[in-house]
């Protein structure tokens, strides 16, 4: 018990002594001066954007591309176009309806339909398909306004 009392007294003494001591001059420790770091471009954002864009393209072009179900004759493959063109020519040969044939031919969107009809007619003739060649040539001539030249004439 006595020991504890003494200790308290000693502590008070110590406290008083500290109060009376002169205060040490305040020393401000400043951090070492370093040049300010330049603000870095957030490359990770650009990386994420590019990565996402590529994933989006992969999805849109490969995984789930736009499906064309209602295409036009103009988008047909070349050999299918030839078949379509021939059918138009045969239909014209059967009906003689030039207006309808011309509007159908326009669907194929040939740059020079008369030239292409003539060229296809030559190919058909060369391959031995005389009827097809004639139908194609007839339509080409009709579009040129020269149908009479191809129609059969009465022999003398």
């Amino acid at each position: 018990m006595n020991n504890g009392w003494h200790k308290l007294e000693n502590m008070e003494e110590t406290r008083q002594i500290r109060v009376n001591e002169p205060r040490p001059p305040e020393v401000v420790i400043s951090p070492p001066e370093t040049p300010p770091e330049p603000k870095q471009f957030p490359w990770y954002l650009l990386t994420g954007l590019i990565l996402g864009f590529l994933l989006g393209l992969l999805y849109a072009w490969m995984i789930n591309p736009v499906v064309y179900s209602d295409t036009e004759p103009a988008s047909l493959r070349a050999d299918f176009k030839e078949n379509y063109r021939l059918t138009i020519a045969q239909s014209f040969a059967a009906t003689g309806d030039l207006e309808r044939a011309a509007s159908r031919l326009a669907l194929i969107n040939d740059e020079d339909p008369i030239f292409i009809l003539g060229s296809q007619a030559q190919q058909a003739l060369a391959a031995g398909f005389a009827e097809d060649g004639r139908a194609l040539a007839l339509l080409a001539a009709a579009l040129q306004g020269d149908m009479e030249a191809l129609l059969p004439t009465d022999s003398p």
């Binding site: 990386t47 989006g56 591309p65 209602d70």
Partner: protein, 118 residues
């Protein structure tokens, strides 16, 4: 730790934004183009017009087998089914009665040919 989490969130956001931009570009701006399509992908109006052409040629030639071969150009095996679809479309679109008659005549001829084959 807080900064790293923030960066991760923004990184993920950028990926999502990029995916959206990529899909928009791939579907809307520059979609896959089909330059070499087959006749089976043609729109129904073109298919019906093609069937009408086959009927017009049949009316002049009178060859139902050739007409069936022409119809199967549209990409399906069953010429009658193609013609039926075309006829339905033609009726809905109010084709000229003369054109409808030509198609009906061809249908009858095909039915007759198929009946003979069975």
């Amino acid at each position: 730790m807080e900064g790293r989490k923030r960066r991760l969130v923004f990184f993920t956001l950028m990926i999502v934004l990029g995916i959206a931009a990529g899909v928009a570009y791939g579907w809307l701006v520059n979609p896959v183009k089909y330059d070499d399509t087959g006749p089976s992908t043609l729109g129904m109006d073109y298919k019906a017009d093609y069937a009408l052409m086959a009927a017009e040629i049949y009316a002049a030639e009178g060859d139902p087998v050739m007409a069936m071969a022409r119809l199967t150009f549209l990409g399906e095996d069953n010429a009658l089914q193609i013609l039926d679809d075309a006829l339905t479309f033609a009726r809905e679109q109010d084709y000229h009665p003369g054109d409808l008659q030509l198609m009906s005549d061809l249908r009858q001829a095909i039915v007759a040919v198929q009946g003979e084959g069975q």
